[in-house]
Amino acid sequence: MDLQVGKNSKNTKMSERKPKNIFSKGPIPASFIAESIQKHSSQKAIGGHSIFLGQVRADQTENGIVKAIDYTAYEDMALEKMHLIREDIFAKYPLTCMHVHHSLGEVAAGEICLFVFTSSAHRKAAMDACEETVERLKAELPVWGREIMEDDSHQWKVNQ
């Protein structure tokens, strides 16, 4: 698996204040999401997980049909911002853990580009925290999606 996550989570104790990486190249495989769920089976204080998966939509636009989105980010700033969002969310909800993964580079229509995973003792905190995290990261992280059309022209994604 090419994703950087496992490596990072091992380092969490040593560098709690250092922003965690959330970016990995290309789509997020379903197998990675399954493994991520499986890893939580040892944490028996958890009673509920909430997961949001963002999937690239084959939007029909006046410029054609979207076949992929090419993501770029101001990574340093995005990671610092995500760190602040994470601190806010942990201060607001009794969460056991939170994991966020966002794709960079090209992700084809139908593939997963965003994975937000929150866990808590009782469902409400995990569900509310997951929703708030998704809303905040879409509004606050300096990430841009370049929509690639079927004829290889492009337009820039606009978040609603």
């Binding site: 101001y74 995005a78 610092e80 966002h102 879409k138 841009w144 820039w156």
Partner: protein, 77 residues
Amino acid sequence: MQVQVMIFGQLTDITGKSELMLYDIPDTDTLIRTLLSIYPALSDTKFAIALNKKVIRENTLLEGDNNIALLPPFSGG
């Protein structure tokens, strides 16, 4: 003051590059004026300026090592 400017997202369609070096830029108002004179099309686009990874909203003096970035509206997720 010499400044290096990082350019992101749809703004790179206008500038044709993702990095730019500018000279004699004492503050961010001058930066904006200079950018608009080089790339008039930027005036039709919404963007924010981040100085050392923080979005600034008022004219700010540029001193020493500055990390400047032009950020169009975000569209992650």
